[in-house]
Amino acid sequence: MKALMWICLVVISLLSLFPFYIMTVMGTHYNEDLFKGIPILPGSYLQENLKTVLKADFLHVYGNSLIVSVASVVLATLTSTLIGYAVAKFEFKGRKWLQTFVILTMMVPTQVGLIGYIIEMRHLGVGNTLWPVILIWAAFPFGAFFMIQFMRDSIPNDLLECARIDGCSEPGIFVRIVLPIMKPGLATLATLVFLWSWNNYLLPLVTINKSEWYTLPIFISNLGIVHRTDYAARMAALTMTTIPVLILFILGSKTFMKGLTAGAVKG
């Protein structure tokens, strides 16, 4: 039985890792050779592909993407946690309404509000910069919803009451008591936001009109597009793009899993 389980696990692992492997290997071949069949062994064209990628200002774009993703994570976790804390742990007028509103906004697809968002950004005077791609995370309904649920499940009201009785200030309670308990939730949300903003394509596509502010997904889709698509160079770039996300996930996988399954066994 155990052997069967192991075989299953190995097969599933191989199946899910195979595309990553192929992506890496494809980045080491000459583009036209990719069409002759799926390459299994690494080729000798990696240097040329890297040259193509780096020649096109890859590092600068990488920097842009890092700025966007890190700023998005900070902004999204900050606002989501505050909203979550407020709605889950405080009684105030319009609380229910606020919660419904958060869920309602989750149901509106981003594409619908896109033009309005661009107009808003233009009036704020930040069109054609990195700001529109970052600021969208300031109002992140999923994050707020996630935090509301998480706070409700994992922070006992008694604990907060105790802190108040002991004379801790409200910001103090938030920073010293709530945040430490929230670590798994924060890590999960941070990973998700990082991933989503790192991979975001549509928003930077329509809001950024200057090559110097492009982020990785746009950059990669613009690599080698004249008359022939240089998939090999794209694969090399994709490999380099995927690595930080992979590292982030490996580092945070323990807390990430905890966050995702939080509340699963609670009544």
């Binding site: 069409f35 661009i118 233009r122 005077g125 930040v126 910001p171 596509l205 004249v226």
Partner: protein, 457 residues
């Protein structure tokens, strides 16, 4: 007490939000340092179609969205030698995203380029948006008689106004395998082949001969997709009138010929742009590949790097056709129209620009005068002539293919036709029993699903 503390919290957060907004606005001002273009009327000098009177008097910033950064990086310094006071800013935009990005830019009132490119796949839709200026009016005063006649429909909108110039001409013929032609038909000479394949019936007969002699190892085209793109583009009938779309006029004849070829067994089963299709060029399984002037570099030699000398170029049966092509227009609300036109005119129409364009990138201008003035240039061997067995490719395009070509009037439905065909031809390949009528009916139904506003005939 709780409420009081909450109040503090709310206050704190509000001030944070305000501060963030303020910072955001500041950052934006710093980054939005693109000066709005200005083009002072240079001492009353009126710019003409050929070139503005004094290039140094024109100034401003021209924004261009292009996917070919290498082209712009080469062309802009050349342009600035003549127009030192015009700054050209390029944003790299993928042609697949171009229209979406442009439309959201226009809808939201944010950045829209002064120079807009329309690739074949969405050219008709772009013209239909009505965002390009009529180039025959002021300040451009473009003269349509100055460009090759067949290109006019490709650069005109549905009202017949010329709204763009060609980035490069794209007349097409067939790239063919010289070794196979010699082996099975006894000749690899383009002129003799053109005689053997003067119409589609002859083409099919020669195809059957080829198939029989090679025991079915060598066929004419890699798949239905290649054959159809030739047939469809040869039939340049104007099939769209407002929202009335006459698919029968546009497609019946091409599908009939296509199915004749399929039934004669002279077409392969490859789909366009698939790995097997690309690999077939080097393998010598098929005789012909439709090819425009951009083909030798990006298409044939890229997929058959060892194939130098074994390729040739011959015109298609009956009439030449266009393949690909990009139209370059100017945004009608541009604030730098004169500067933008100076750039477009220089890069794609002027003698200096066209010369640089041809010598550096192999792009051929649509400007007639250029070919008269630069005869020697085209008589000299080009970069890929050796690869094509020493055949002078540009001369062949200019003298054998272009003269009898006609242009296809552009419509927003072109891309729908393209999409429907790409979805259907794999089915026609698999199910060889599909008849012409059934195929056409299916085509119409699919077309209606995708373009519900159209009345289909």
């Amino acid at each position: 007490m709780n409420n009081r503390k909450l109040g503090k919290w709310v206050g704190g957060f509000t001030s944070f939000a305000l501060l963030a907004g303020l910072l955001a606005a500041c950052g934006g001002n710093g980054n939005e340092a693109s000066p709005s273009a200005s083009s002072p009327a240079a001492g009353g000098a009126s710019p003409s179609a050929s070139a503005p009177a004094d290039p140094t008097q024109l100034s401003g910033t021209v924004k261009v969205w292009d996917w070919d950064e290498t082209f712009q990086n080469g062309m802009i310094p050349e342009f600035n030698k003549k127009y030192p006071n015009i700054k050209v800013e390029v944003t790299v935009v993928n042609p697949n995203d171009y229209l979406q990005k442009l439309q959201s830019g226009i809808a939201s009132g944010s950045d829209v380029p002064d120079v807009i490119l329309g690739e074949e796949a969405y050219r008709g839709k772009l013209f239909d948006l009505d965002v390009l200026d009529n180039l025959e009016g002021a300040p451009y005063n473009f003269d349509r008689s100055g460009v090759l006649d067949y290109t006019i429909p490709f650069i005109s909108n549905s009202r017949g106004e010329v709204v763009a110039v060609d980035q490069a001409i794209t007349p097409a013929g067939f790239a063919y395998r010289r070794d196979l032609a010699k082996q099975y038909w006894g000749t690899d000479d383009p002129a003799e082949l053109a005689k053997l394949l003067s119409n589609w019936d002859d083409f099919i007969a020669k195809g059957v001969e080829l198939k029989d002699k090679s025991d079915g190892k060598v066929l004419m085209f890699p798949g239905l997709g290649d054959a159809f793109l030739v047939l469809r583009n040869q039939n340049t009938v104007s099939y769209v009138n407002g929202s009335e779309v006459d698919l029968t006029a546009k497609l019946q004849q091409p599908i009939e010929t296509l199915f004749k070829m399929r039934d004669a067994g002279i077409l392969g089963k490859n789909e366009l742009w698939t790995p097997a299709w690309s690999a077939s060029m080097a393998k010598g399984e098929f005789m012909f590949y439709p090819m425009a002037p951009w083909g030798p570099k990006w298409h044939i030699s890229a997929n058959d790097p060892e194939g130098s000398g074994r390729w040739g170029l011959v015109k298609a049966p009956e009439v030449g056709f266009a393949r690909g092509g990009t139209a370059v227009g100017i945004y009608k609300d541009s604030k730098a129209k004169e500067a933008a036109w100076a750039f477009v005119q220089f890069a794609y129409q002027s003698e200096e620009g066209s010369l640089y364009n041809f010598q550096t990138f192999g792009n051929m201008t649509s400007n007639k005068e250029f070919y008269e003035k630069q005869k020697a240039l085209f008589e000299a061997p080009g970069a890929y002539d050796e690869f094509f067995g020493g055949q002078n490719l540009s001369q062949y395009f200019l003298q054998e293919i272009i003269p009898d070509m006609k242009g296809q009037p552009q419509s927003k439905y072109d891309s729908v036709v393209d999409g429907v065909f790409n979805a259907l031809y794999p089915l026609w390949t698999k199910d060889a029993s599909t008849t012409v009528d059934a195929a056409l009916e299916k085509f119409k139904t699919e077309f209606k699903n995708k373009a519900s506003d159209a009345t289909v005939k």
